[in-house]
């Protein structure tokens, strides 16, 4: 194509040879106005005819300058000739450098890529002389040292330089003044004229591919090897009469090209070029389809290596090809794509009018998934802060169109399972988008379509450049829409797709769709819906055995669930969702938003690479700072009253270990600076809150910048403020109850700015849950405190029992590890009995909590004794996580942890839950999810 220019000798017509990527503004402007040309003698560019006036003008203006350059060049060549005569390599070297410089100038002036023949001539002369000089050993020996040195360097330079023009040189050698080349071209042109209009037609609509092609061309142009090869290939095809091209020739050619694939020395890009050329000459739709499949898979091959991504232009072309495939498939419903059976050799020979089914080998879903993976990878690799990233994101609708069409097609052909898979791909592109982003994407899709309409005109001319190749024999109109259709709201979009998946998808697809659904619900502030979905689907039971990317999705869904709970003012739930993510300090890794450095564990490069491949692209990130702020705030609200309640033995009931650790660290600091990061803010707020200064705590928390990322921020702040006041009141009562003998209600409510009824209810809750040993004195509206503190001896006794149970448990396990394998699970009569006891006990307490329906609305403790005993068992279970257990004991103790967790949460932390059964399972949900990675 572009390479055809090279063979032209007529330097005068150079100006016209501007391909669309040349940056001549004039030409750019012209083209849109240009109607698609009809059969013009010149087959190279359609616009040439009307363009010629302009170019004539141009020529006239610059002719003198050009001539000057040429004169200079010929002068240099004379110099070279002189130097050759006297065998002066030093001056020859200078002249050579000079001529190279001049070449640049000439090229600039003539505004073409074509190297003047004059230059080639000089090169040939030089080369000849060089070989001559090298052959003459005696003369070489006689040379002066500087001369010999110059000779050697000349040898190198010339070799390097000539490589670029190898083809031209050989051509020049063949026919020193190659005027006749143009005539040869004339021969071909009639062939061209016939097909031109059709070609245009078929390509008009396929948008955006054009600049892609140009890029490729740009690259090709600089690669002489490729040009040569391609040229040969094309020439061969061109020389044929179009009527001579039969199915067989194409088929043979295809086999040949496919066989060359993957072989050493076969350029990948070039392969794609050849194949896409073949698609045009394909005789039957089925054959075209077959070739298109090969093209797509060849395009996948362009980028080797797993880490890099496919070049974007290739990707776009790939999508276009896929759309073309779908066009064919929709046009000819009798063609069936299948990858299960190897179809008959000559299956594709059957023409468009053939009525039976035609089987073509190919796998639409695999290709689609690959395209999706490439898109994902490119987003991973591109720096998110560049314009490139945004540009890339704009291609998303393009993929959505493709996915939509593939899905439609699959649904039409009844392959619902595959359709569900495709639907999942679409879901995965949309689930993380809040409504606003979704709207933006919709608008973008509309816009890009309009823009395409405008541009398509302009692009036609560009297209035509490469359409010089023969047009396709099989023309398929665009059947499938090129524009995505989106429902109004993202929820509707999700619902339709997800229900399809639930109906037809396989296990993994369903699980992923479910997680996306949960995520999306959570994103839309529908906490209860998404939580119910999560609990009903029992995903948390078997998430550990799923693949890592699903686990990441699960973690992301959990994180989003936590954020959603926070926005809804459900701080306890929010904490239980998030605490698991933060327990190991590897949030980044868990939600795949960066690699966390481990101090003790060096990762192998292999692991690191794998991890990097799992990373989420930037636009899908959940803001980590916000996540941390939410987690710590939730933990603070739960932990501060808890710490105040258990001053004697603070270690016994820890709600959030992470929070405790942070707090201890910040307590140990000698100098307290103003808070800087999220953690500092929350810690400062914690200190304020534990002193009862709720206002300061609130101010500190709200001074964080990240909150601006929060939807309906003000409402959340209001809730947060109320909650902080409440917790401040509780903390105050816990800490100072012992110092009072009575306390007036109005005093309390004034102190914390709470209404009297709220204060009353909080105090009531504390009394009933026996966190506060007090009673109301109704007439005076006072709280009367009873002094029923534990004596030290009692406290010690409690601690001792804790320790004893730990010891007993580890003893059991030690015995199990020693004899467990030999005796089997139930071999030791004594131990299972004990286990059962403990389990029953926990269950009894649990059912007690659930059974007392009348208490549920406020949810109370089982009383001091009950609470602490369960707490103790809980303590026993908790300190030995399932991670530590081994062998037969593992299953049991994991089970047990779940149970005891459930019960211990009845003991205290549930006070503000409405449905205790709900929370029981959510506590379980969290504890079970701990096994993730």
């Amino acid at each position: 194509m572009a390479s055809k220019f090279w063979t032209q000798s007529d330097s005068g017509s150079e100006e016209e040879r501007q391909s669309s990527y040349d940056s001549d503004p004039e030409n750019e402007e012209d083209t849109p106005a240009e109607p698609t040309n009809t059969a013009v003698g010149n087959r190279y560019l359609q616009q040439n005819a009307s363009d010629s006036d302009d170019s004539e003008e141009q020529k006239r203006v610059i002719r003198s300058a050009k001539d000057k350059r040429f004169e200079e060049m010929s002068a240099t060549i004379d110099q070279i000739k002189n130097a050759i005569k006297i065998n002066d390599w030093v001056s020859l070297q200078d002249s050579f450098d000079k001529i190279n410089k001049q070449l640049d100038k000439v090229m600039r002036v003539t505004e073409s890529e074509r190297v003047p023949n004059l230059y080639i001539k000089a090169l040939v002369i030089l080369e000849d002389f060089l070989t001559q000089a090298l052959a003459n050993k005696d003369a070489k020996k006689k040379m002066s040292s500087s001369n010999a040195k110059a000779l050697n360097s000349m040898k190198q330079k010339l070799k390097k330089n000539n490589k670029q023009y190898e083809y031209l040189i050989s051509k020049y050698r063949e026919k020193p003044e190659s005027e006749e080349v143009s005539s040869e071209e004339e021969d071909d042109s009639d062939e061209e004229t016939v097909s031109e209009p059709r070609d245009d037609e078929s390509k008009v609509g396929s948008d955006s591919g054009s600049d892609t092609d140009n890029n490729i061309h740009n690259r090709d142009v600089h690669d002489p090897d490729m040009i040569k090869k391609k040229d040969k290939f094309m020439d061969k095809e061109f020389k044929k009469d179009p009527r001579d091209i039969t199915w067989d020739t194409v088929n043979k050619k295809l086999k040949e090209v496919v066989a060359a694939r993957g072989r050493k020395g076969t350029g990948r890009v070039e392969l794609v070029e050849q194949l896409s050329f073949l698609t045009r000459v394909a005789k039957t739709p089925a054959q075209k389809l077959e070739i298109l499949f090969t093209v797509v898979s060849a395009q996948f091959d362009i980028n080797p290596g797993l880490s890099g991504h496919m070049p974007i232009n290739v990707w776009k072309k790939c999508v276009d090809n896929m759309l073309a495939i779908l066009d064919i498939l929709n046009q000819y419903p009798n063609i069936v794509v299948n990858d299960m059976v190897e179809p008959d050799e000559n299956e594709t020979q059957k023409g468009a009018d053939y009525n039976g089914t035609i089987r073509v080998w190919g796998n639409l879903i695999a290709y689609l998934e690959r395209i999706d993976a490439e898109f994902f990878k490119s987003l991973q690799c591109i720096d998110p802060h560049t314009k490139e990233f945004v540009e890339r994101l704009r291609d998303e609708p393009l993929f959505l169109v493709l996915a939509q069409n593939v899905q439609d097609y699959l649904e039409k052909t009844g392959n619902m399972k595959a359709a569900a898979k495709v639907a999942l791909k679409r879901v995965e592109l949309v689930y993380y988008k809040p409504q606003e982003v979704y709207d933006a994407m919709r608008k973008l899709a509309d816009l890009s379509e309009e823009r395409d309409d405008v541009e398509s005109e302009a692009e036609e001319s560009k297209w035509s450049d490469e359409q010089r190749a023969p047009p396709s024999f099989v023309v398929v109109p665009e059947v499938v829409p090129r524009k995505p259709t989106f429902p109004e709201s993202s929820r509707v979009f999700m619902d339709t797709l997800v229900s399809l998946i639930y109906k037809y998808g396989d296990e993994r697809t369903k699980a992923r769709a479910m997680l996306c659904d949960i995520y999306h619900h959570a994103l839309l502030d529908e906490f209860s819906t998404s939580r119910d979905l999560l609990l009903m689907s029992h995903l948390q039971d078997n998430i550990q055995i799923m693949d890592i990317s699903t686990q990441i999705l699960y973690n992301r869904a959990m994180a989003q669930l936590g954020l959603s709970a926070f926005r809804n003012g459900l701080f306890t739930e929010g904490h239980s969702c998030l605490s698991e993510l933060y327990s190991a300090g590897r949030v980044r890794e868990l939600i795949a938003q960066g690699v966390s450095q481990s101090r003790y564990h060096e990762k192998t490069p292999e692991q690191e690479r794998l991890e990097r491949r799992r990373q989420m692209p930037y636009h899908m990130h959940i803001n980590l700072e916000l996540l941390e702020a939410v987690h710590l705030t939730c933990a603070m609200l739960l932990e501060v009253p808890n710490m105040a309640a258990n001053t004697v033995d603070s270690k016994r009931r820890v709600i959030s270990k992470t929070f405790r650790r942070f707090f201890e660290i910040s307590e140990r600091q000698i100098l307290m600076g103003p808070p800087e990061n999220v953690r500092d803010h929350v810690m400062a707020a914690t200190r304020a809150l534990s002193q009862g200064d709720y206002q300061k705590a609130f101010d500190l928390i709200t001074s964080l910048q990240v909150w601006k990322l929060l939807k309906n921020k003000d409402a959340v702040f209001q809730m947060l403020k109320d909650k902080i006041k409440e917790e401040a009141l509780r903390t105050y009562l816990f800490s100072y109850a012992t110092s009072y003998s009575s306390l007036a209600l109005d005093q309390l409510s004034k102190m914390f700015g709470l209404s009297e009824s709220t204060t009353h209810s909080i105090v009531n809750k504390m009394m009933i849950s026996e966190e506060l040993h007090a009673s109301w004195d109704q007439p005076t509206r006072c709280i009367v405190f009873h002094d029923v503190g534990l004596s030290r001896l009692q406290a010690l006794a409690f601690q001792l029992t804790d320790k004893l149970s730990i010891l007993a448990e580890s003893n059991e396990r030690a015995v199990e590890t020693k004899f467990g394998s030999g005796l089997g699970g139930g071999g030791l009569d004594g131990l299972p009995l004990r286990r059962r006891d403990a389990g029953d006990y926990a269950a009894a307490v649990g059912s007690g909590g659930g059974g007392n329906r009348w208490q549920d609305s406020q949810s109370y403790n089982q009383g001091r004794q009950g609470g602490s005993t369960t707490g103790r068992y809980g303590g026993g279970g908790r300190s030995f996580g399932p991670g530590q257990t081994s062998g037969g004991g593992g299953g049991y103790s994991r089970d047990r942890t779940g149970q005891t967790r459930g019960t211990s949460s009845y003991g205290g932390r549930h006070s503000y839950q409405s449905g205790s059964s709900k929370m029981d399972s959510s506590a379980r949900m969290v504890s079970l999810s701990r096994g993730i990675r």
Partner: protein, 338 residues
């Protein structure tokens, strides 16, 4: 505390020839007891030690006198001085014609927390020089409650044998049939006074029906004692858990090693099959040089044994005190009702 014990009584030397009869009773002179009590009580929270002097007569070990060791703060410097002091002291005592035959040592303790590795080491030290020695343990805190908390201990022979070989694996212990109870042997103490002193005491005895000890015994406040006991008990539990973790770790290691060995063996067998097929000599299935076949040393059980002893000691004390307290409380209740 290397005590050379340079001078042996004639009798003892003679006894050494024969098979020594088992030690049945420790007979203590009132003087020695009082001296011990005085010394221990004066330094009460701090722990002190001293030397016991006396005679070894058949199955009875007579403790006739004792002297305290100076309070040592910095062991390094005063080590030599301490030894000199002992020698000097013994020489002086000999000059005034007191028994200067070392038969053991006494030490004070806090709530009976004496079962330590150090005690055993000291015991072994003494044992090297003196065939028969005892350790008298006095607990001032317990004595406050009106009992004479005096104990004479010695290490059991089987334990000593085991300790010398320094092999406290589970297997060895089972072989020896040694349990934690068998580490220490308590020997009954008999207090003897010369008739003269007895007569004097009777003379001095007041007419009041109750003595100071009786009054102490009636003290109702047992709380601090219980609390301390509990605290100590908890410490022991923690240590115990740690020990247990050591064992768990050990078992995990062993399990891991076994799987490694299995894998290695399988690989070797497969190799051998291949070799056999190729007609080569099979390589041995044991490879002692391979690190995975090295035996993992079992952690010593001594610590666990001592801890168990300690725990049982605390439990006994708590039981005893609790029982007594109940008695007292009932008594008081009855008195009130009257």
């Amino acid at each position: 505390m290397a005590n050379p014990a340079p001078i042996r009584s004639f009798l003892q030397a003679a006894k050494a020839e024969e098979v020594a009869p088992a030690l049945r009773v420790v007979q203590m002179e009132g003087l020695a007891i009082l001296k011990i009590i005085k010394h221990c009580k004066e330094f009460s929270p701090a722990l002190v030690t001293g030397q016991l002097l006396g005679l070894d007569v058949g199955s009875v070990l007579e403790v006739t006198n004792c002297f305290p060791f100076p309070n040592r703060e910095d062991d390094e410097e005063l080590e030599a001085e301490g030894a000199n002091y002992q020698l000097e002291m013994m020489r002086c005592l000999r000059e005034v014609n007191v028994d200067n035959n070392t038969v053991g040592w006494y030490q004070s303790t806090l709530l009976g927390s004496y079962q330590t590795v150090e005690l055993i080491e000291t015991f072994m030290n003494y044992q090297e020089n003196i065939k028969r020695c005892v350790c008298i343990i006095y607990d001032p805190s317990k004595s406050n409650q009106g009992v004479l908390a005096l104990k004479a201990l010695k290490l059991s022979d089987s334990f000593m044998e085991l300790y010398r070989s320094n092999n406290f694996t589970g297997e060895k212990l089972r072989e020896k049939n040694l349990t934690w109870v068998d580490i220490f042997e308590e020997i009954p103490i008999k207090v003897s006074n010369s008739p003269l002193i007895s007569a004097c005491m009777t003379e001095l005895e007041a007419d009041t029906p109750v003595a100071q000890g009786d009054l102490d015994r009636l003290q109702l406040s047992t709380k601090p004692f219980m609390e301390r006991n509990l605290e100590f008990l908890m410490e022991c539990m923690d240590d115990m858990s740690q020990e247990q973790q050591k064992f768990q770790y050990h078992y995990r290691n062993i399990a891991r090693q076994q799987t490694q060995q299995q894998a290695w063996l399988q690989k070797r067998r497969a190799e051998n099959m291949a070799r056999k097929a190729a007609g080569e000599e099979p390589s041995p299935e044991e490879d002692p040089s391979n690190p995975i076949f090295k035996l993992i040393a079992e952690p010593s059980r001594l610590e666990t044994f001592l801890l168990t002893n300690q725990i049982s000691n605390y439990c006994n004390q708590i039981n005893g005190v609790a029982g007594l307290s109940f008695n007292r409380l009932y008594l008081m209740k009855a008195l009130h009702e009257n």
